[in-house]
């Protein structure tokens, strides 16, 4: 791939229930801000637009169709959609830019998860004959994974609580976070289990919201005269759908994507990891090969607020904005999809 400039990124607040805001009303404000930050007017000013969403979150087919409404797509635009987290929409944009068909792109993701019972809705991501009819929810599969790790001695409950305490603490500086504050590991461990071995705080909250990003070739970004971060590498991999056939304590797909994206080609100052459950952050940190010198999830990560279908792109945006602000020179971001980390994406970002 060629170097891609991330020029702007905006996400909405993570809220438990966006109420009377529909998709269009969720998307419009973040699109406006992301376009403004890039100094452009509308989707007409980029060569490609791609979004990520999931019809089942709010229970309506073709949710993405109304997502086109706020783009101002008259005259018509080059546009596509993935039924995935918008991090994969960014991936599609990277393909288009690398092949020379676009010099710039608008990428956005949105999700209104509040109308349904999200863990039960997500049970229908599973094998339609063997698992979905059991209504095996997404928290339960994560709990099985955590138990395996605890039984193996890979982690302790204290390790998990430490992840949560750090998330809550880091989230204090994140204006979009839903859950934040100072809480001690001991306090967390004193909480009862929710879906044992998971406690409620080990699980990400349900959030409504959207995010948007403008990317371009480095040449185009320079022409726009805006500061930018450089996307140096991005790759994604999937694993078997059979949990029994996977080693749930490892994430080989993350490891392979990290290798191919070039995570190890330089120091990793910051890593934004899409770990919807505390123990998964530990699996991912290991798969990404991160040491103690890397700051993990300075935003609080998705334990502080999880915009389904947008959280992956948000991780990338969080790192990009830190680079653009000059806080760091190099960082990585991760996105996941499916139960128990079945599918993973890794992106490497550097300063211009």
């Amino acid at each position: 791939m060629r170097d891609i400039a991330i020029v702007s990124f905006v996400q909405s607040d993570c809220v438990r229930d966006a109420g009377a805001q529909n998709e269009v009303e969720l998307i419009m404000p973040v699109l406006r801000k992301a376009l403004d930050a890039a100094g452009i007017q509308s989707a007409q000013d980029v060569d490609f637009t791609c979004s990520g969403s999931c019809d089942y979150l709010q229970g309506a087919a073709f949710a993405f169709v109304s997502g086109v409404d706020p783009l101002g797509a008259v005259p018509p635009i080059k546009e596509s959609h993935v039924e995935m987290d918008a991090a994969w929409a960014l991936y599609e944009a990277v393909l288009k830019i690398t092949m020379g068909q676009a010099e710039s792109a608008l990428v956005y993701g949105f999700g209104k998860s509040s109308p349904g019972e999200l863990p039960i809705v997500l049970s229908q991501q599973l094998d339609p004959y063997y698992m979905a009819p059991l209504w095996l929810d997404s928290i339960s599969t994560a709990a099985l994974q955590a138990r395996t790790m605890l039984d193996n001695g890979d982690i302790t409950e204290k390790d998990m609580a430490e992840v949560v305490a750090r998330s809550r603490k880091n989230a204090k500086s994140n204006p979009h976070a839903q859950l934040k504050g100072d809480v001690s590991v001991d306090e967390l461990l004193a909480e009862p289990t929710y879906l044992s071995p998971l406690r409620k705080h080990d699980c990400c909250p349900v959030s409504d919201g959207a995010c948007a990003m403008v990317v371009a070739t480095v040449e185009k970004a320079k022409e726009w005269g805006k500061p930018y971060a450089v996307l140096k590498g991005i790759d994604h991999r999937i694993e078997s759908h059979n949990f029994g056939a996977r080693d749930l304590t490892q994430s080989p797909s993350t490891q392979a994507a990290a290798k191919s994206a070039g995570v190890a080609n330089g120091p990793v100052e910051v890593a934004e990891i899409y770990a919807p459950f505390s123990h998964q952050e530990i699996i991912l940190k290991r798969a990404l090969g991160l040491g103690d010198d890397t700051v993990v999830n300075p935003s609080g990560g998705v334990l502080a607020g999880n915009l389904m279908m947008a959280s992956g792109l948000s991780r990338i945006g969080e790192v990009a904005m830190r680079i653009i602000r000059g806080d760091i020179k190099r960082g990585i971001a991760h996105a996941t999809s499916g139960h128990a980390l079945q599918q993973n994406l890794v992106a490497v970002l550097e300063e211009a």
């Binding site: 009377a20 229970g59 339609p128 004959y129 599969t141 099985l144 138990r147 289990t193 879906l195 056939a245």
Partner: protein
Amino acid sequence: MSASAEVLSQAFTLGYTYTRSTGPVVGRFLTALRDRKIVGIKGSDGKVIVPPMEWDPVTAEALSDFVDLPDTGVVKSWAWVKHPRGKHPLDKPFAWAQIQFDGADIPMIHCVDAGDESAMKAGMRVKVRWAEETIGSINDIACFDPA
């Protein structure tokens, strides 16, 4: 309350009773369940997978070598559901578990009616509790009982 401030909310159910054709491999497993039996399949490396996968997860080869198995096995991992959700298979606290049938190498996920969390541990033996009526569904296994 002004008209513009009105919030319109309403519960609704999105659903359909889907008619799924099973294909030979899934069909064979569900047929066995209806007959209160467990059947697995040999993967490319000879490992026995339950429920039978249609294709090997590593080589992607089509699988067809079925193996009859007993309805007993061992818990590899588990999670305790203190507050079952409305759609869960059991309406009292239960465990989800990865259960490896005796003679199998790859565990499957189902639930265990253990009464209390303290009764659960990795390595415990369990046995299928069959549904009163079996129709050819994963729910023909009502749950597993500690054995």
